[in-house]
Amino acid sequence: METMNHGATIEQRKAQIAKSKRSDKIATGVLTAIVVLISVVLVAIVGYIIVGGLPHLSWDFLTSESESFRAGGGIGPQIFNSFYLLFLTMLVSIPLSLGAAIYLSQYAPQNKVTDFIKTIIETLSSLPSIVVGLFGYLLFVLYFGWGFSILSGAIALTMFNLPIMVRVIQQSLEAVPAYQRDAGLALGLTRWETTLHILIPEALAGIITGIILSAGRVYGEAAALIYTAGQTAPEIDLLNFDLTDPRSAWNVMRPAETLAVHIWKVNSEGVIPDIDVVAAGTAAFLMICVVIFNIAARFIGGRIHKKVTAQ
């Protein structure tokens, strides 16, 4: 009888192959089912929120002030507040996290102190946002006396956001092979030039994805803001650029309820008769915004990556 390498007959080997083909099919089936299940659940949630809220979205709803007691209020100021807070948070977070990530991945000495700092950042990135919110309340709102304000909210959001952004950017930079850095240094470039012109362009896709994902998180965040940016959305004037005027939209010392906080507040302590309508409409709008940013920013990220890498 002919034997194979390990002493098995051809028949045995054939049976073995048939068996492993069968398990391969089963594994593929199971994994596909899991992915389909997850997608169905996600699509169902997103669909339910958008379909349920879409009928309530009107130009009037999106632009008018919210009501405290009567039906028919809108979410105009909340939309502005959400974007303004997102913008301010990113304005502070992006340069800080880029700087920290570049330092940690390229300059920090490899020692226990650096390892310790990296561990702290990892721990902070899983800090519950309500803890960040209450910490911000004690420190910014009360101790610094900033009150419920955009400033308190933006700094709390930055604290919440920074560790994750640092980690994601650091990981994208570390994923660029070391021989790319060596190539730059061997051409007589400094570390800084190498980082700026070789490593960052190559890591850009990952960096942009990280920024988008954390922007989505910041935009939809409620717990960190309830006790920092506050739960009221006073009437605001977009054309008033007097930054000390409490009615100016741009004044960072005024309280600013965001969309996510609005949903929470309407549901938990709202006394308006149309709670369901307002909550569903706001949730749908929030969801649509997050979906749009993700798609748009991914597209932009892809274009930038293509441009800088010629790929």
Partner: protein, 284 residues
């Protein structure tokens, strides 16, 4: 490899660690022949304690190709990375002893390493073009060093690619990503990138070990042409390659320079027992 030779190998290693001076044979450069680079009693320690180079004194003749050979882990790459001070980028790597470039010691505290690396270029084992277009890969270095003139750069890209025997293959696609090239083409692009800096010396660390035989042959051929203008120091684990391309060869063993001389002489008539054992395959 039989059990016996393996044990012998170990013994030789132990022996080398114990005695400071294994039998060596270093051919001296005659008076009047110019050495572009030279190390004098170079010692190197990784992690401040692990010695990887022991008292290496070696000169490189101008416009010649010198091969560094020896078993893997003997310190060839480590030595090469001293010559353009790349080892300064490795934390806790300490190396001491004069490294002369055109007679001037560059292994000093106040040397401008960026200036040194403009004159002493390097090609790596793994082809490592930048994630940029073919054109940018070459123009990038000179531009970073202040050459902004478009016409100058266009011409530089063309001449560098021609010297690296890549021009004909890429001249219509200079805007394409370097990553779309084959491994062999990428390595020639890296050589072109190094040439574009107009260096004096080109260091190559096993530039063909990741390539197929045809690409290897192309690179060996172009090295011969480069000799007219540059001094080349190439690390290779391939003794046939050393025989084919190198005018002079240096043989390293566990951090020691064991033998140096004219390539043909060294391979036909090794002077030290270690080299002759290595050439006959007693260890590898």
């Amino acid at each position: 490899m039989s059990m016996q030779t393996e044990t012998q190998n170990k013994e030789t290693l132990e022996h080398l660690k114990d005695t400071q001076a294994p039998s060596t044979y270093i051919e001296q450069i005659p008076e009047g022949v110019s050495a572009v680079m030279e190390t004098q009693g170079l010692n190197l320690f990784y992690n401040k304690t692990k010695q990887a180079l022991k008292d290496v004194s070696l000169s490189f003749r101008r416009n010649e190709i010198t091969a560094l050979i020896g078993p893997s882990g003997c310190g060839k790459s480590t030595y090469l990375r001293c010559l353009n001070l790349m080892n300064r980028e490795i934390p806790n790597c300490v190396f001491e002893g004069p490294i002369l470039y055109n007679g001037k010691d560059i292994n000093t505290k106040d040397v401008d390493v960026y200036e040194v690396r403009k004159h002493i270029g390097m090609v790596f084992q793994q082809p490592n073009p930048f994630a940029k277009s073919i054109y940018e890969n070459i123009a990038f270095g000179p531009r970073m060093h202040g050459r902004k003139d478009k016409n100058y750069l266009n011409e530089l890209v063309e001449t560098s690619l021609k010297r690296a025997a890549l021009w004909d293959e890429v001249k219509d696609n200079l805007d394409k990503s370097a990553y779309e090239l084959s491994g062999g083409q990428q390595q020639r692009l890296c050589i072109a990138r190094t040439i574009a800096m107009k260096p004096d010396v080109i260091l190559m660390d096993e530039p063909c070990s990741a390539l197929d035989p045809i690409s290897t042959k192309k690179i060996e051929e172009l090295m011969n042409g480069l000799k007219e203008d540059y001094t080349i120091i190439i690390v290779t684990h391939n003794m046939e390659q050393a025989k084919r391309v190198a005018d002079y060869t240096a043989f390293f063993y566990v951090g020691n320079l064991i033998e140096y001389g004219n390539t043909a002489n060294m391979f036909s008539n090794p002077q030290t027992p270690l080299l002759s054992d290595y050439l006959t395959g007693r260890f590898s």
